[in-house]
Every structure is written in C-alpha cells, then in structure tokens.
C-alpha cells in the first residue's frame, strides 16, 4: 500500500504545527521523520491517523484521496500507529486492549476474547513477541506494553505502521529487538514510519529520512550521513553534541545511602539493598531503564516513600523518617521525573511555581502572610536567569511548553543553597539549545561543591554528565562504574548483568532476555 500526504497543514489556533507537508510512504521501506521537540512530527502522524483533522491538504491511499473522520477510518484503510504515549488502558488485560474497537462477539453480543487471544498468540509466534494475553497491562514492563501496542496494529492488518518514538522507553537490547522486528515487518512488505531522536537507531534502520523543522519539511537526508550533520539539519544550526566539562574534583563524602530498601505500594521491593555515596563536587548518574527503582530511590531520599528501610545520611544527619519539608529545608534540591505531575502545579502562576517549596520561608512569607512582591521579584530574576519563555510571570505554568516548564523546575531548585541536588530526567522534553544550558548549570552546581545525583534513562545524558555511573536493575545496584564506561557495558548492566560480567561479555550478543522489569512500582 502506498500512502501519500499532500500539502498537509494543521493549525492549533494561531500556532501552525504542520505547514504544507508533503510525504510519501512506500511498502517495504522504513521512513524516518526527524525533527526537534515540537517540530510537528506527532501532529503530522495524528493527522495521518485520523486523530486530528488537517486544516488543509490531502491524504492519498494508493493514489486515491481519502478522508479520515477518525482513527477508525485510518485503521480500516490499513494504517496502524504506536503512539508516543502508550494508548493502553492500564486496568485492562492485553487481550482486552487489543480487542477494543475491533471486538469479536459471540451470540448475544458477548465478547469473544478467545478469538483475540488466538490472534495475539499467532502474531506473537510470528514475530517472536512474548506477550501473555491475560496479563493486566499495568503490571507489564514497558517493553512488553510496547509490543502489545504493535500487536494492536498488526491485529488490524495494518499495512502502514507508524511508530512514534518507540525506543524512548527501551533498553538498548530491547531497542535492538525492536529494530529487528521492524526489519522483519519491512520484509513482510509493510511500510513503516519511524520517529526517533536517537540518531544511532535512525541511521541503523532507515531507508529514507525526512527532516521537519518548525512544521515544515526542510528536506530529506541520507541515512549514511554523519550524526552531527543530521543534528544540525534538525536544529538548523550546528550543534555540539558533547558537553565540555572539567574533570570532577571530589571532596569529602557528605551523602551516604546504606542498605536502602524501599517497598512499593504493590508490595514489591522497588529498591533492594542499595548502598552508595556521593562526594561533594561529584556527579553520580543513576542509569537504568524506566521503572527499575530510580523513582523510588530518589523519592525515598526526599522522604516521599512510606516504606523505607536502611539509612540515608546527609552531612551525617539521618534523612529516613523525616518529613519531606524538613528534608527540602535542610538543603536537598529535587527535580522530579515528571514535571507536570510532580514538579509543577499547572494552574499556578509561574511565579508561584518558582516558590512552590519555599513559599513559607523568608523572604516570601512572614508567619502566615505571604509577600507577593517578593514572589514576583524572585520570578522576574529566575525567568531572566533561566531564559524561561513565558507570557508573564503571572501566566499559568500549565500553559508553558514542556521545555519551559522544565526550566521553571530547574530554576526553582538551583536557585538556593544546596547540600544535595537530585534531578530525574533533567532535560526531558527540552530542546537541544536548552539542554546545553541546563547541563552547564548542573555542572556548575557540582563545581560549586554540591553532591549531585542525576537519574536519567538517556544514555547520552548519563555519559555526558556523569563522573560515576550507578546502574539499577530491578531495584538492585548492578554496580558503580566510571563515567567513561562504554555504552555497551552500560546496556548490559541495564539489562541485569553485574558490572564485572558486563565488562567481560559485552561483545556477546546472546544474552538472556532483559525485558522483565516491573513498571508498576515506578508509576508514582
């Protein structure tokens, strides 16, 4: 099946997300879309998938113009999509999720899930997915969830498969598996539209690359072109992909975690006997696939977890058992992993968000009374310092773009004297230019003598920032390795191999499945 987009324009109010985009997707090819955050990739795909109605333009299937009233029409036309944010109902089983919208029924309108189960098994066998149709989605690791998403498209006989940033949540090994699957699908004659920011993968799997910038197609790129060239095409200027930072000058160790065990809401040990320490002037990066205990680890430090055993000390003082407020006030800066859920109150103004954990302290408050003038003053300074793009300090934080929201959180946490700085996914959803800036701020904080803990699932970021790297797998520490450890070794550790084993076997591809992590503990 051949798919053609002609002059697609999509406006949100006054914002032009897609501007006369032309695109041709052919069977047996992997067609990659490349572009920075907010370039309009997902929007284009949502138009193609019938979720959005294009403001202008036409979609042609095998040369015939079609119009999609909704995803139902697109699916009927043979288009399947795996969304950037998974579209799975967490309290449903895999089978229920896959049946949804495409239900087989028995007499009396009763669901016939057996048929769906059979289909799932058939496709699982064909592509080597290992998916239990009767597992609850919320209990599944993200890797498996993603396979369920792919099955969802395949069950509907998709000829064109859209994969919107499918690798963002996968281990390197899982990513490799996915790429293999893509190749197999391609061999079966399916057309694949692939979106990713990870140039390595893009280069590995693409047949065609189209670069989008600010809603417009700026041209095609050769998959064999060097990464730096692709990156500058994306951003429209040359970018330095590496962070320049001086070697660490570790001072005394002020932050210690000893035998930390955190039991999550579902009764599982999310963090299991972790011990580590960070010296002043040093960045420890915690690497691992999402949902391997990083969230619980950082939350336990801040006192957000209820069932914590072991000890966490900062400057010799025990943190376990203390209130969050105490811990914050004792000088712990904390950037949570999901800014819009945990980092910001969307309905609050930017100014209010900038004092979200200091609203009751001088100079912002005296007794019970807050001082709005000081809050506004602080906001003006922080906005200027961190280049937060907002209509005004009084604008609701929820109206800011993701990257700017992130800057607000970082600005809040980095603008007071800290004894420990913890940041999860510090640059998630932030554009390349701002990443540079935020990274420099983090390094500056280190150089100022603060112990820093960075949690990131992005290996690039980990490697850029870390002086030492701790890898978590299923809540356990796989080892702490130097900041210049190879990507492959880290990948193996993230899949559950100890540091020593990983070092020795890093070239061996045939490792046991590493997908079995638990995400339920991580969704806090």
């Amino acid at each position: 099946m051949k798919l053609e987009l002609k002059g697609i324009t999509k406006k949100f109010g006054t914002l032009v997300a897609n501007d006369h985009i032309d695109l041709m997707v052919e069977p047996g090819k992997v067609h990659t879309l490349l572009g920075e955050n907010g370039a309009g990739k997902s929007t284009l795909m949502n138009v193609l998938y019938g979720l959005y109605q294009p403001t202008e333009g036409q979609i042609l299937v095998d040369g015939k113009p079609v119009s999609f009233g909704g995803p139902g029409d697109a699916m009927a036309a043979g288009i399947g999509m795996v969304h950037q944010h998974f579209m799975l109902v967490p309290v449903f089983t895999v089978a229920e999720n896959i049946a949804l919208g495409n239900e087989a029924t028995k007499a009396g309108g009763l669901l016939n899930l057996d048929e769906t189960r059979a289909k799932i098994r058939r496709i699982s066998d064909e592509y080597g997915f290992d998916v239990d149709p009767d597992a609850l989605v919320e209990d599944l690791p993200v890797g498996v969830q993603q396979r369920a998403e792919i099955i969802k498209a395949l069950v509907r006989d998709a000829e064109v498969l859209i994969l919107d940033e499918p690798t963002a949540v996968l281990t390197p090994k899982e990513t490799d598996e996915l790429l293999a699957i893509m190749r197999q699908l391609k061999a079966d004659g399916k057309a694949i539209v692939f979106i990713s920011h990870k140039l390595r993968e893009v280069k590995a799997v693409s047949d065609i690359i189209t670069v989008i910038r600010r809603g417009k197609v700026v041209g095609d790129a050769d998959p064999d072109a060097p990464a730096a060239e692709l990156a500058s095409l994306m951003v429209g200027r040359s970018v330095s992909l590496a962070l320049e930072k001086a070697p660490a000058q570790p001072g005394e160790v002020t932050f210690r975690i000893k035998d930390l065990t955190v039991t999550a809401a579902n009764g599982q040990r999310a963090v299991d006997g972790v011990s580590l320490q960070i010296a002043r002037g040093e960045i420890l990066a915690v690497a691992g696939v999402q949902g391997n205990g990083q969230t619980e680890l950082t939350e336990a430090i801040l006192g957000l977890q209820d069932h914590v055993a072991g000890s966490i000390t900062l400057d010799g003082e025990e943190l376990v058992g203390r209130k969050v407020k105490d811990i914050i006030n004792s000088g712990v800066g904390f950037v949570p992993e999901d800014r819009s859920v945990e980092g910001l109150v969307g309905a609050f103004s930017v100014a209010e968000n900038l004092v979200l954990n200091r609203y009751d302290q001088a100079p912002f408050a005296k007794g019970l009374a807050m001082n709005p003038a000081r809050v506004a003053e602080n906001a003006a300074q922080r906005i200027a310092e961190f280049d937060v793009r907002t209509q005004s300090a009084a604008a609701a934080a929820g109206t800011l773009s993701g990257g700017n929201q992130q800057k607000v959180v970082m600005a809040r946490e980095l603008s007071r004297p800290l004894k420990l700085f913890i940041a999860s996914q510090p640059t998630r959803g932030v554009d390349v230019g701002s990443i540079e800036f935020l990274h420099r701020r983090i390094v500056a904080e280190r150089d100022h003598g603060t112990p820093v803990m960075i949690v990131s699932t992005e290996l690039d970021e980990v490697l850029d920032l870390a002086d030492r790297i701790a890898v978590l797998y299923r809540g356990r520490l796989m080892g702490i390795v130097p900041g210049n450890t190879s990507r492959d070794t880290l990948g193996l550790m993230m899949a559950g191999m100890s540091a020593e084993d990983a070092e020795t076997t890093q070239t061996d591809a045939a490792q046991p499945d590493a997908a079995g992590t638990d995400s339920a503990g991580g969704d806090k």
Partner: protein, 421 residues
C-alpha cells in the same frame, strides 16, 4: 468521582490578555464574561417567567379561547410573569410601595440578612473546593455550629461582648469539629469525602433532634423540640436598629469573606491548600502535607459553616430547632459553584441568592407564585453561566478572541491535572 470540583476558571489566570485589546469595544463588551452573566440571568428569568405564565390560572383560562383573542393569552401571560417578578424585586431590593423610607429599603436588608449564612457556608464550600474536596457537608456543619453556639447562648450568663464572643467561638468550634471529622477520615482512611459529608449531615440532624428532647437543650416547661431563646447578651446587635432584622452577623460575614480571600490568596495555608487542590502530587513533592491540608481545610471550612450557624441562632432566628439550617448548607454548594470558588464570587453569588430567597417570600405572598420557581431560576443561572458557549450561541454573540473552544477547555485545567481523589 475522581475530580475535585474546582471549576477551571477559578484557577487559571487570563491566558490571552493581549488579545482583548485588539478588538473593537462593542465586540469586547458583547463577548465579555459579564455580558454572558447578564444574559444568563436574563435567560433564566425568561424561562422562569414562562413557567409562571404557563401554570397561571388566568393564562389557562385565556388559552381556551386563544384563537379567538390571542392577545388575551399573551396579556395574561405577561401580567402573570411580570407581576411575579415585580413582587420578587419588591421583596428583594426596594419596596416602592413602602410608606416610610425604612419600609422601602427593608427588602434590601432582608436580602442581606438571608445572604449572611449563605456567605459564610458558601465560603466553607469554596475553600474546600479549592483544596480539591467536594464538601457537601455544610448543612451538618451549620447544624453543629448552631447547636454549640446556641447552647453557649442560652445556658451561660455572661457580660455583653464576652458572651457573644464565646457564642461565636462555640459556633466556629462546632462547625470545625464536624468538618474535621471529614478531613480526618479522608486523610486517615481515604474515605471519600462525598460519602462522609452526606452521612454526617444526617447524623447532625438526628443529633440535634435528640438533644432538643433532652433537658440541657429543651426549653424549660415545653415538650416541643425547641431550645430556649438566646439571651440578649448572646445576640448579634441589630445593624440598623430594631426596625430591621439585619444584624452584625452580616459584618462578620463580610469579614469572613475578607479573611477567606486573604487566606486563600495571601497566606501560606492558602498556598498549600490551593496547591493540594490543583495538583496533590506536586504539592506532596514540594513538601506540603496533603493529608494535613485536608484536615486543615475541612476545619476551616467547617468553622465557616459554623459561623453560618451562629448567624442563624445568634442573629436571625435566636433559637435552636432541628430546622435551624434551613437549606443553607445545600444552597451554599450552588452559591460556591456560581461564585466560581472564589471568596468574593461566593459573596456576590450569596447576595444574589439571598435576594431571590427574600424576594421569593414576598412574591409568594403577594402573587401566590410558588417560591419553588426561585430554585428553578437560580439553578438555570448557574447552568447558563457555566456554559458561556451555549449562551453565546443562543444570543448569537461573538466568541471572545480567536481562541478555539478546544484550547480554552484544554485538559490543563486543574480538574484534569489534580484528579487524585
């Protein structure tokens, strides 16, 4: 029942202030929120008027010969509706038939009197809303507040000033106690506040019913469930002399509004509870005690409702009965919603409802129009004001700015983000 009932408009600021400036004045007026509010009231009055007309006997009579003399029908309908509303106005704002000036403005003071408990209880509901709690329990909180206040009022003999002060404190404490039960149960066990408040309303009614049959509360020499009258020292003094029922409780209600505004917008407690209401996860991460906030806000909300109870027993009714709360606790919910969960909005909404209530009584006695019509009009107003696009569509008004409806209603509203119940 996930969402806290914070109307999106309560929290978000003006998203597109600059856009207004670029449009012609007339367009701006027609598209403004005030215009929508005015039209919503108008529309509700029209619907209510139609109802009055439709059920009027003269109208029914005239309709039997409609085709012969259609004018009669329309005339009768107009008369029925306009007389009802004239009486409503006369009873709520200004009595142009009054013999003395005092009589002329008497209705307005009545409106303020009725509004007093509505303001206080409405503020309680508003504060709870803002912390993400749907407080249906103002009724029970008023009752318990009134109960304690009345008890202090008729049992103790104390000097002027001190006595009233203690009455007020007792009312605050009673409401706070009843509210805190909700907060504690929610915080400790996660029990849904909607259920708990509904149940506590009933329990409060039976409790006061029981107490009114016991010697401590029952009027001596009477076996009716009614308390002794409160002593003079326990009462709010009249605000404008004995001619009017309006008492200092109204001033207290105004102060309560100022307090609620300050608390919500200028105090650390308000900051905390707004944060908890808008996004409990972020509040927790910022070191704000979410469960503590639930308790705190319910204590304050209950205390405010208790203040409404004080207004009843120490101001308007001067006696405790099982029906002392009338339906103020439930009206308070609508008032808070109409006031968009802001203190001054609640204040104004309470005045409006007070006017309807006060005028409704006059409307009923003067024109025989059932006071229930007031409920209809009130609820329609809230509905229409909550749905500006509907009003605009009905009156062919322009949309404000160039904002598409999809964006204005985008799920970044607190109702969507702060949805942990």
């Amino acid at each position: 029942m996930a969402p806290p009932a914070v109307p999106p408009s309560a929290q978000s600021g003006q998203l597109y202030p600059e856009e207004a400036g670029t449009q012609p004045l007339l367009h701006r007026i027609m598209a403004s929120e005030t215009m929508v509010a005015v039209l919503a009231v108008l529309l509700s009055l029209i619907v209510g008027g139609l109802l009055v007309a439709l059920t009027n006997e003269q109208v029914a009579a005239a309709s039997s010969y409609f085709f012969a003399r259609p004018g009669d029908l329309l005339g009768a309908a107009w008369t029925a509706a306009s007389e009802a509303y004239a009486a409503l106005f006369q009873g709520a704002v200004f009595n142009f038939e009054g013999q003395t000036f005092a009589r002329m403005i008497y209705p307005l003071t009545q409106t303020l009197t009725v509004a007093t408990p509505l303001i206080c209880a409405g503020l309680g509901v508003t504060l709870a809303f803002r912390a993400g709690l749907f407080n249906i329990g103002a009724q029970g909180q008023i009752i318990i507040g009134a109960m304690l206040a009345a008890w202090v009022g008729f049992t103790w003999q104390l000097p002027v000033g001190l006595h009233l002060l203690l009455v007020i404190l007792a009312g605050l404490a009673g409401g706070a106690l009843w509210g805190s039960l909700v907060g504690l149960l929610k915080a400790r066990t996660g029990a849904h506040e909607v259920i708990v408040t509904i149940m506590l309303n009933y329990i409060a009614i039976y409790l006061v019913g029981f107490l009114l049959t016991t010697p401590g509360f029952q009027r001596p020499g009477s076996s009716n469930p009614i308390s002794p009258q409160l002593g003079g020292t326990a009462l709010y003094p009249p605000l404008f002399g004995d001619t009017f029922r309006l008492h200092w409780g109204f001033v207290v209600a105004v102060l309560a509004t100022v307090f609620a505004w300050w608390l919500l917008n200028r105090s650390t407690i308000g900051f905390e509870l707004r944060a908890v209401g808008a996004n409990p996860m972020a509040a927790r991460t910022a070191g704000i005690g979410v469960t503590k906030s639930y308790v705190v806000v319910m204590v304050i909300a209950g205390a405010l409702a208790g203040l409404a109870g004080v207004a009843q027993v120490a101001g308007t009714e001067r006696v405790l009965t099982a029906g002392v709360a009338a339906s103020f606790g439930f009206d308070a919910i609508t008032v808070a919603l109409l006031g968009r969960s802001t203190p001054w909005g609640t204040f104004i909404a309470a005045l409006l409802f007070g006017a309807f209530r006060a005028g409704g009584v006059t409307m009923q006695t003067n024109t025989g129009t059932s006071i229930d019509i007031v409920l209809v009009v009130q609820s329609l107003i809230v509905l229409f004001i909550a749905a500006p696009p509907l009003v605009r569509a009905l009156f062919h008004l322009p949309e404000p700015g160039a904002v598409s409806p999809a964006k204005t209603g985008k799920s970044k509203s607190p109702a969507a983000t702060g949805g942990a119940a």
